[in-house]
Each structure stands twice: as C-alpha cells, then as structure tokens.
C-alpha cells in the first residue's frame, strides 16, 4: 500500500495509567490496541509511509516487515481507526 496512514478525525491515541495500556478514544467508545498496534499507531502521522513506519519500528523491535505493518493497518482501517491519505 502506497498511502500514508493517519488516525481518523475524531480518534485519539492516549496512554491510560489506570489500566496501564494505550487506549484509542473516539465518540462511540474506547478500544484497547495491543502492543504492536499501539506502536504502529504512534507512528501514523499522515506523513510516514508504511516503509517508514516499518523502518522506525525496526529500530525498536527485531524482524519487522512492511507486510506486518500493512496487516495491522488494514485491520485498524476496517475498524475505522485509521485512514489512508
């Protein structure tokens, strides 16, 4: 995928100390992303491509492939959390 992912309008990513986890906040509710999804979402700034994101993650985690990032983002797009620009 060649686009640049970003959080949809109205969706915010934040860290919740009470639950000790990242949370995705939007008008209808709250989603708790898993650690991988949260790491990807933190890098979705509407400027970075999937390759950029995979490269940035590669400095923190071993063996990150662009395909893994695409898979995570596809699932998040289905749930209307991210959109492609």
């Amino acid at each position: 995928m060649s686009g640049k992912p970003r959080l949809r309008k109205g969706v915010r990513l934040s860290f919740d100390k009470t639950r000790d986890t990242h949370v995705l906040l939007f008008p209808e509710g709250v989603l708790v992303p898993n650690a991988t999804a949260a790491a990807v979402l933190e890098l979705c700034d509407g400027e970075s491509t999937v390759d950029d994101i995979a490269a940035a993650l590669g400095t923190r985690f071993r063996g990150v492939r662009a395909q893994d990032v695409t898979d995570v983002l596809t699932r998040l797009a289905d749930r209307r959390v991210v959109e492609w620009t």
Binding site: K9, G10, F15, D16, T18, V23, F26, P27, E28
Partner: protein, 361 residues
Amino acid sequence: MDVTVAPPLGMLAELTHRCPLHCPYCSNPVELTARADELTTGQWLDVLDAARDIGVLQVHLSGGEPLARPDLPELVTRAADLGCYVNLVTSGLGLTEERLADLTDRGLAHVQLSVQGPDAERANRIAGARAHEHKLAAAALVKEAGLPLTVNVVLHKANHDVGALIALAERMGADRLELANTQYYGWALRNRAALMPTPEQLAAAEPVVRAQARRLRGTMEIVYVVADYYEKYPKPCMYGWGARQLTVAPNGDVLPCPAASAIATLPVDNVKTRPLRDIWYDSESFNAYRGEEWMREPCRTCDRRSVDFGGCRCQAFQLLGDAAATDPVCSRSPDRGVVDLLLRSPGEQEEFVMRGPVAAR
C-alpha cells in the same frame, strides 16, 4: 458480591438542566435541578479529577444545555488536560464561532448536535423554539473548526422521516448520524402516546436506513436505535448496570444510568458527600443490579443474559414498579402483556405536552 468491578470508561456530566428548548421527547427528569442547586465550578473540577482517577476516559458534557454554563471552557480544559476524550452534547443554541474556537483550543474532541426534524417548520414546532437555523449554523461552525460532528435525532411519530433526516445530516456534513427512536424516560414518558411511532413508520424506516447506510459507508456512519417496545428482546441497557458508565446530575447526584432517578426505590449518593471512587465501587446504588446476582427468572438462567443483561432497570420500575424484574419488553417476560397493551391502546393523547422547567422542591 462476586463480580469483579471494572473501572468506568465514560462519564456523562449533566452540567445543568437549564435549556432554551422544550422538546416533548426530553428524557431528562420531570423535576429539574434548579440553578441554585447546580454544582459549582470547583465541584465540577473535582468531579473531573476524581473521574479520571478511577479510570474515566470519555467525558460527555451535556445537560440541559451545557453552553448555558459560563464555566464550560474551564471544564473542557480540565477534562482534556487529564487525557480524556471530551464530547460536547448540545442543542447548538449559544454556540458562536468565538466560543467554539476557544473550546477547540482547549481540547474539545467532538460535538454531538441534536436536530428535531427534517425541516425548519417541523423542527421548530417540536423544539418549541426557533432553533433549526441556529443548528444549521452551529453544524457549519463545527465543520469549519475541523471537529468531528455527530448529528443526533430523536425519532417519534411526528418526525419519523428517516430519508429526509439522512439527507439533512448529509447537508450538515455530519460524520455520524444517530437516529434514535425515543426512549420513554423522564418527560418523554408523559408524551408516550403522542410520541410512539406506528408499526408502519418503523417498517418503512428500516429498509431506508439500511440502504442509505450502505450508500454512505465511509462518509457518514448511521447508527439506528430501535423502538424497543416493538422488539422481541430488550436493549442491552448501559451494557450492564455499573459496568461502563456513570452519570453525574447537575446537583451532584451520581447515577448508574441517566434515567435512574426514576427508580424511586434506589438510594442515591452525591459527590458532595461521598467520594466518586466509593460510589462507583461500593455504593448500594451501583451494586444493586451489577452482574447477574440480582436476576430472577426468566433472566437468571436465560442464554441471553450476558447479551442484554436483562434489559433496562428503569423501564422495569416504570412499567412494573419493580426494578429487579425482567424488562417487560422481553418476549420471555411474564409481563410482556403490559407492553403489548400499551402498543394496542396507547391512549388518547394527540398533542404534545411541551418540556417546561419544573424545578425540584
């Protein structure tokens, strides 16, 4: 009690009951909190701190009309600074470009704007005020500010024209549209006979909503809330009592559901006399219908009890005088006949009793 109580996710903060409109479908209680009994700014700030402290992530600033509170900006700042998602639930009256720009700067995340009908004439008649044009202007301001907009319409016999309402919401640029059939609480219960949609209206609406939702996928999300009296099973009210959300009324009363003041037998705690954490975890009111322990037959052994939690406690109390009964909307309830009778002979009322201020005490 042997349920593990999870922290709350959301808080409905009813900042005031004062409101410029007179919607006959209004779910707020018949007896409203007077201005003099509203929590002060300092008390609301403490409520926000306490709410975040126990895990609240979504703050819905509502009322009445939240814009009637001059301290709204301060409350938005606090809630946003605490890391909460801040939603303004408003009639749109009193929203100006300056006020919205200020609220947006302070961290407002989302606006939910109510509309009463598909055109100015019908909408203003239902609102009991010249409100419709203000709402269109308010929607335009929200869009210009770049905030996501949910339009909310409460559906009833006099406005059940979902095609026209969807078209209106599209023109307003809504990201989401909630079409919610009236829930009969508070003032709305007084007008039930005049508000109750006909089976023909409901049957006509559903395919329109389905087709339009498909057409608008990706542009405008449509949420349709069914008319529960006509359903076979009750709504999963609040996703369980004391499970996800709490409501703080204008006077500081803390309720497990916005309509719960209707349950006359429910002891109610207040933020002025008890810490919010205690109220959430230990109060009689929040524990009364938590989990499944309180359930009787047929809910107790029903395969749907984790799906709908036995329905709505307020409805059981209002229709049967017993908040622990199965929601009489349920076809498995021995009292379903009560609802069927209401649908067969809803009463004589044709005219609305418009919402008016009836202050408590």
